[in-house]
Amino acid sequence: MKFFPCIILALVCVAPLSAQRYLLKDGKVLNQADVVLRDNKLVQSIGKAESGGAEISYALTDVVRLDWPEPAEIDAARKLLDSGKAAEAEVLVTPIVNQFAIFPKQPGSWFASAALVRARALAAQTKTDAAERAAKDIIAVSVDPDIVGLAQIVLAEQQIRRGKPVIADAMLSEILRRHSSDEAEARAALLRGDLALARKDYEAALGFYLQIPSFYGSLDSLMPAALLGSARAYRGYGDSNKTERAFLELMNTYPASAEAALAKRESGL
């Protein structure tokens, strides 16, 4: 098979679109810097205040789209979460959730993405009720099927926390039937691995955990959990060599992850 290496050579400068703008239903565009949010309205000042300038108000419902780059806090919070700092992630991302909460459904809004990180941060701190509420909020407003699927996975995870593995498993099946994004599939596989591990079905657990490196290798953020799960499952299965190898790979490749710390404790390596 030929794989078009010529494409690589066609180097081009593609600068990101970095405006922060509100697009109104009448076609008008408001720069974020030119307006303030007041009384549930966007308020634009005309002229200078000292010379008797005026203000124009726009209803929030007039905003049909946001033209906004991803706030850096979202990615930073994701990274904190991956390194086991869930409380810090929650603190960092919550203002972003609040900022975009007034435009939850508009295209270009970062509400759902930020709220998903927050829901995961809550789940990681075992704030089960809060995580469930956050996930349900996302499901209620987001029109992005991938994000909805991921929020539903957070809900399924809470069912496991509540000791209802059968319900969780049924939810995961339903999620996978409806959504097929790589991340949703990978996260569902991780949870199913956890369920199988809990019932000591080690072979099945390995079949789920190892889907991450096998089929979703580009999702690096899920690798630590997959490696930790597979190390535990190998141990249950009785394969000490592979157990040690998985622990070592986790500790060497993802040393800053929360799972690496657990691996160190569990493996004694």
Binding site: M1, F4, I8, A10, L11, V12, C13, G207, S214, G238
Partner: protein
């Protein structure tokens, strides 16, 4: 708006119509009288600039050219107008209308005059780009190198230089430029593109570690990549190159960066939408600069290229198969056999007819084989055979499967694969290997006749084959083990004649002596053994030969010499089996000569010299028994427990339970109180419990508690194991005294421990009790732990039988049959052969496999050692089989079986109840209603059967029959 209110007049003459007219006038050369109507140079310049602003470079370019021409002819520019600036504008305009030659000419002329400053940099950029677009890459590289000195263009210059150098065939220059670009570039789409280009170049230059490092850097920021299809292509190419270079982890990293077909298409679609929006935006705001124009042009090209690439990927329906195969292969080569199996499974599931199908099947078989998943491997081979029965690779799969099945203890599968391989692939080069493996496998499992057949087939097909020596020797061994000693001796002779220096000569000579010993030709055997011992003073088999010499002397009743030979054998390396044999033989001879102390000393020496040997527990057992034979029961208990206490906290020492049972047997009996031999009163269970606890439970000093939590866990586990063993020993005493209630109470207490704390012998007994008590889940967890943690233990059959019973009760007959078979085939059914055989029989019956069930029930019923409930069950089941077959003859025979149960096995009331009911029903089927009624009535008279459900059914049938018969007689 181009005009300011300060220049209203000019505004009037610069309408577009006028501009076009002017342009035409100037260019056409029709202005023969130009000198008369010459337009001022400033006005032309102004018009040219206006066209630039109006994004009409085509109109601007000739105007600029006109200005430059007139300047060349000596006209001067107004003050404030810079020739450099005009030249830049002119070059840029010509660049935009793709007249690169003219742009180059203007730029070069300008740079010949002014080579530094901002405008010079602007012009240099136009020149570089124009040269590049004229494919004058080498010259362009030089221009961009000079442009790097400009702070304004440094980043772009590096990037363009890299591109030009790449096109000029100067990859090292391109790599250098890109590497420097990445040092100060922010992590964004440009950065990701630059990294991609750098990886491509490193790959082209075979700088694999650098290419790999580049990809690893990019993996953390895959979302930044606009050119997703390009990334996929590059990652695949890099993966293939790294595989060839044997950098498997690197290849794996590369392949794992490749997105599957649906993902790459979806991502690229999103990126294209973004690029299209950007392109529109760029077109709307693009200035007159050459870099703006170039950026737009390249972005457009990029979009077109990605669309073409996407179309190609869309056309490749098997794109993922290609990816899965590579990933699977890389995982496999790195030892990730589980991951590889997952990938090959998915490949074959999603693409059952793809090009890589046969290779994928073989790779999947190998992956399962190497991860020790024999059942999965077997299934994979069967699927392969169905999908591609004539594939050459199937022979390889069968060979791999046979090896793996052998390693996994699945001789049945090994035989199956070898038989298929040998018979179906007669021309395969692997057949020779499979034939000899088949012979060895048959020999190992005791199918000596088949082993002989395989060997003879081998010798016919490959008389001078690479395993001919092995085959010839194996043939002789097959004769010996089947008791054909004379034939064996002859065949060994043939072997020795053909291979006088062969690999098996010393063993062959030993086997001849063994065969002679078996033929009771002690003189010949003795002679050959002596010769052997003289010829092989350092041979590793010497201990075995000395043991044979001991046997020969014993056969000749030369016990002193026999003991001497056995003792000599003991001083040499022996297999555990042989060591046990020699120790037992010596013990037997010492006992026969009543030299108990000699035997005790021998075992004590053994325990002292090999304190960690598993037979130390045997030593304790024998020391105890021998001391007891001397009447020294207390000493026996003390010496046995002194050894037992060393291992009492270690659950993996599974032979200890045998010793504990022996201790229990001694403790259960009253000690002799004095020399007169009068026995003390039988100790109460409470006294027994106290005594056993005193033997093994030492108080744990508080100071010994460690700060290390792992160590504390281990100590806690050892303590739990010790306590469980104390309870078990006491339970054994209760068992000897037939106090089942007390025994069960103690075992129930043991069941409170986690399975990890319990040795296999105790796990089995406790799990059996839990199952009997209806605690199925807990019993299952104990059985599971037993067969997974202690699969090689002699008590593993408890686990397999238990799991078989649970599956049988749940109606999972396939699983039940497998587990009952595992108890026999894997665990050797040392304790549960009867239960396993009966389990298999009843499972086969439940599956409707009546002939196979009958054979096994007959086996159980005819085994005298198993007389009891199992016999009653088997006889009843044989009757049930006949009843199921129907027909008067079978029913009559069934009747005989049922009657035999309630007449001969009355003790086993559950089976008696069933037999009565079945007997009555059979009489009814035969139309013998009176006999049926009599049978039911007889059953109802037996008070022991009152609580059984069968009795209620019998009562109902009796009432019904009584009415019928009464009505009939009336």
């Amino acid at each position: 708006m181009r005009l300011t209110p300060r220049r209203p007049l000019i505004r009037a003459v610069l309408s577009s119509r006028f501009a076009c007219g002017l342009c035409f006038f100037l260019i056409s050369g029709l202005a023969a009288n130009a000198q008369q109507v010459q337009v001022p140079i400033a006005q032309i310049l102004f018009e040219a600039e206006a066209n630039v602003k109006a994004k009409k470079p085509g109109d601007a370019a000739p105007l600029f050219d006109m200005v430059l021409s007139r300047v060349d002819k000596g006209e001067t520019l107004r003050s404030g107008q810079s020739l450099d600036r005009i030249e830049f504008q002119a070059a840029a305009a010509f660049f935009q209308v793709e007249n690169y030659e003219r742009a180059i000419s203007i730029a070069q002329k300008s740079l010949g005059r002014v080579s530094s400053g901002t405008v010079a940099s602007d012009i240099r950029l136009v020149l570089g780009l124009s040269l590049a677009l004229q494919k004058k890459y080498t010259e362009a590289v030089t221009v961009f190198a000079e442009l790097e000195n400009s702070p304004k263009y440094r980043e772009k210059a590096l990037l363009y230089r890299a591109m030009a150098a790449q096109a000029a065939g100067q990859p090292d220059v391109a790599i250098d430029a890109l590497t420097r670009t990445l040092k100060f570039s922010a992590h964004n789409g440009d950065w990701a593109d630059a990294v991609l280009s750098l990886i491509a170049l490193q790959l082209q230059q075979k700088n694999l570690p650098e290419a790999r490092a580049g990809l690893e850097a990019l993996r953390g920021s895959l979302d930044l990549v606009d050119n997703v299809v390009g990334l996929n292509a590059l990652s695949l190419q890099l993966g293939d190159t790294l595989i060839e270079a044997n950098d498997i982890p690197g290849a794996l990293t590369a392949y794992r960066t490749v997105f599957p077909r649906e993902t790459v298409l979806s991502r690229q679609k999103k990126q294209n939408a973004r690029m299209e929006a950007l392109l529109a935006q760029r077109r709307a705001i693009a200035g007159a600069g050459a870099d703006d124009a170039d950026s737009v042009r390249r972005l457009d090209e990029r979009l077109k290229a990605t669309k073409v690439a996407m179309a190609e990927i869309e056309a490749r329906a098997d794109y993922n198969a290609f990816l899965y195969y590579r990933l699977g292969n890389a995982f496999y080569q790195r030892g990730g056999t589980w991951e590889a199996a997952l990938l090959f499974e998915r490949l074959l599931d999603e693409f059952p007819i793809c090009d890589d199908r046969e290779r994928a099947y073989l790779a999947m078989v190998r992956s399962y084989a190497e991860s020790g998943r024999v059942a999965k491997m077997s299934d994979a081979i069967n699927r392969f055979a169905r999908a591609a029965p004539n594939s050459e690779l199937l022979a390889q799969a069968l060979f791999v499967g046979a090896q793996s099945a052998s390693d996994g203890g699945r001789v049945d599968l090994q035989m199956k694969f070898l038989e298929t391989g040998v018979n179906q692939f007669g021309k395969s080069p692997l057949r020779e290997f499979m034939l000899i493996m088949q012979a060895n496998a048959h020999f190992t499992v005791g199918h000596f006749d088949q082993a002989r057949t395989s060997v003879e087939n081998y010798l016919v097909s490959y008389p001078e084959g690479r395993f001919a020596e092995d085959a010839l020797y194996l043939r002789a061994m097959s004769s010996l083990v089947t008791g054909s000693n004379k034939q064996g001796i002859t065949e060994i002779g043939e072997y020795l004649k053909k291979y006088p220096e062969g690999r098996f000569v010393s063993d062959a000579r030993f086997r001849i002596a063994s065969a002679e010993f078996a033929l009771q030709d002690y003189d010949a055997a003795s002679k050959h053994v002596s010769e052997w011992l003289a010829d092989y003073p350092d041979n590793s088999q010497r201990g075995e030969v000395l043991s044979l010499q001991g046997d020969i002397y014993a056969g000749q009743q030369l016990i002193d010499q026999a003991i001497k030979s056995y003792r000599a054998a003991l001083s040499l390396p022996l297999s555990d089996d042989l060591l046990g044999y020699v120790l037992d033989e010596l013990t037997k001879h010492y006992q026969a000569r009543r030299e108990f102390n000699e035997a005790v000393l021998m075992w004590k020496d053994f325990a002292r010299e090999k304190p960690d040997h598993p037979f130390v527990v045997n030593a304790a057992y024998w020391i105890g028994r021998l001391r007891a034979r001397e009447g020294k029961t207390d000493e026996a208990i003390a010496q046995m427990s002194a050894i037992a206490i060393r291992y009492v906290g270690d659950p993996s020492r599974d032979s200890l339970e045998r010793l504990l049972s022996q201790i229990a047997a001694f403790v259960a009996k009253p000690a002799k109180s004095n020399a007169g031999g009068k026995r003390s009163p039988v100790p109460t269970m409470s006294e027994v419990e106290q005594r056993i606890a005193g033997l093994f439970l030492a108080p744990v000093p508080t100071a010994s508690k460690s700060d290390n939590s792992n160590e504390n866990d281990v100590n806690a586990l050892a303590k739990a194991t010790t306590e469980a063993r104390v309870l078990f020993t006491t339970a054994e005493v209760a068992s000897f005294r037939k106090d089942k209630t007390y025994r069960d109470a103690l075992l129930t207490r043991i069941a409170e421990n986690p399975p990890e704390a319990l040795p296999p012998g105790i796990l089995g007994s406790v799990a059996d009790l839990l199952y009997e008590q209806g605690k199925v889940e807990q019993a299952k967890s104990f059985y599971d732990y037993l067969v997974t943690r202690y699969s090689k233990s002699i008590y593993a059959d408890f686990g397999y039988v238990g799991l078989g019973e649970i599956a049988y009760a749940a109606g999972n007959y396939d699983t039940a049959y497998t587990q009952f078979s595992n108890a026999i085939d894997r665990a050797g059914a040392r304790f549960k052969l009867m239960e396993a055989t009966l389990g298999r029989a009843k499972t086969l019956f439940a599956q409707g496999k009546l002939d196979q069930a009958k054979e096994l029930f007959e086996q159980v019923a005819s085994n005298r050692q198993w007389r009891g409930a199992s016999t009653a069950q088997s006889v009843y089941s044989l009757g049930a089989i006949l009843e199921k077959r129907g027909g008067s003859e079978n029913l009559a025979q069934a009747q005989a079986h049922f009657q035999r149960v309630y007449l001969s096995y009355r003790k086993f009331t559950p089976w008696v109840a069933r037999a009565y009911l079945s007997s009555g029903e059979t009489f009814e089927k035969l139309g013998q209603l009176k006999e049926a009624l009599a049978t039911y009535q007889e059953m109802l008279r037996d008070e022991r059967l009152a609580g059984f459900p069968e009795t209620e059914k019998a009562r109902a049938r009796a009432d019904e029959l009584a009415k019928q018969l009464k009505g009939g007689s009336a």
